[in-house]
Amino acid sequence: MKKIRVLIVDDSPFSQTIISQSLGDELFSVCGKAETGIEALELYEQLQPDVVTMDITMPDMGGMECSKRLLSTYPQAKIVILSSLKHDSLIVQGKSLGIAAFLQKPVKEQELRRTLQAVCAEDKEEKNWQEQFNQNFFSCLPIVFPNITNLKCQIGEAEKQGEKIILHGLAVIVGLAGEKQGRMIVNTSLSAAEKLTEKIFKKEPQEEEVLNCLSELANIICGHIISKFNNDMHGTEFTITPPSVILGENMNIINRKFNSFSVAIDTELGRFNIFIGLVGGI
């Protein structure tokens, strides 16, 4: 089995020794040790370790600042903070930056090993899971969407999205909860939603009916795909939260740490965009 390569960032030789003693065996290898933030950035680039243990206080820059710089260049970097302080605001700040885990010094050997292993394993498992989810989603969508809407659809290729998406018009958000978390968004213009509602209701719809129609559409699409996924992946219990609606000309939706994709569906009534994303690494 491949060893987990660890870069230790700590200005205290004492801590460095303790940490590397806990990790020297068949599971881990300490590939580098840095005493300053600058050194850590250089060594990371050179060594590309699987995981970094990061001290909070260092002479040139704090561990938070160092992590921030590291993650801005390598967003996939796995950083575990080791600090004698462990208050909530530090954790919030760290989570916002994308820190994988926090441990309080002195760290027990077993706890350190378990955490480093979990942080590295999560990544792989998460990726498989997400690939399967996306595959499932994109194979279901071309069947489910035309079936429900009764529209002739031209379905585009899936495109990768960043954490931020900009929406115009009407959007319905359906949350995914349970074992994994995520959300799906159905976005279209108000006029396309009106036309769709009119087609279904066979009369000129009220605003309320348009919103309900698009909400229900999003709910059914997501519900279909999720239940198929739960069936295919035995033991998975994914659920959806009720739809909420947003309406405006320029809305920036931000979902932190999302692996997100979009698909454009062109119909005779206009374009519908579907966004699907799960929390997790890329």
Binding site: H87, D88, S89, L90, V92, Q93, K95, S96, L97, I173, V174, G175, L176, A177, G178, Q181, G182, R183, L211, S215, T239, I240, T241, P242, P243, S244, V245, I246, L247, G248, E249, N250, M251, N252, I253, I254, N255, R256, F258, V279
Partner: protein, 155 residues
Amino acid sequence: MMNANLINPFLEAMNNVLPSLGFKEITKESLNLGEGFLLSKGVTVLIGLTHDVQGNIAYNMTEDVAKKIASTMMMGMPVQQMDELAQSAISELVNMITGNAASNFEKQGMRTDISPPSLIIGKDFKVKVSSNKFLILHLLIDGHLLEINMGLENK
């Protein structure tokens, strides 16, 4: 039907979470009933709940308040812009409060799961939580107004 008892787990969550993030004073200003759309104040975070407690919550605030809250959460670090760090601090806050409220519901025997928060920033956009009628809770957090719109029902 929206049940006013669903509010207490949230108030409890505020009192559990906010002081540990550096906030000192949490005051309940008002509680009203809303209907239909709500107008965003600039920054709105939507989060969904499912199972025994179902629905959506829209945490609504001005950009100025969002920056001030983010600054307190970052141990007083100045926040000039609603940048990535501030965005994730606000998302994390909503996640922590709603997650804490969900565990309070669990303690009462009501199974509750939450979706990830969606942070929405924009001008003049409207939001509709899942139910047509919802409760509007106004909280002052160290003098800053946080509006919490709760469209929840107990299944």
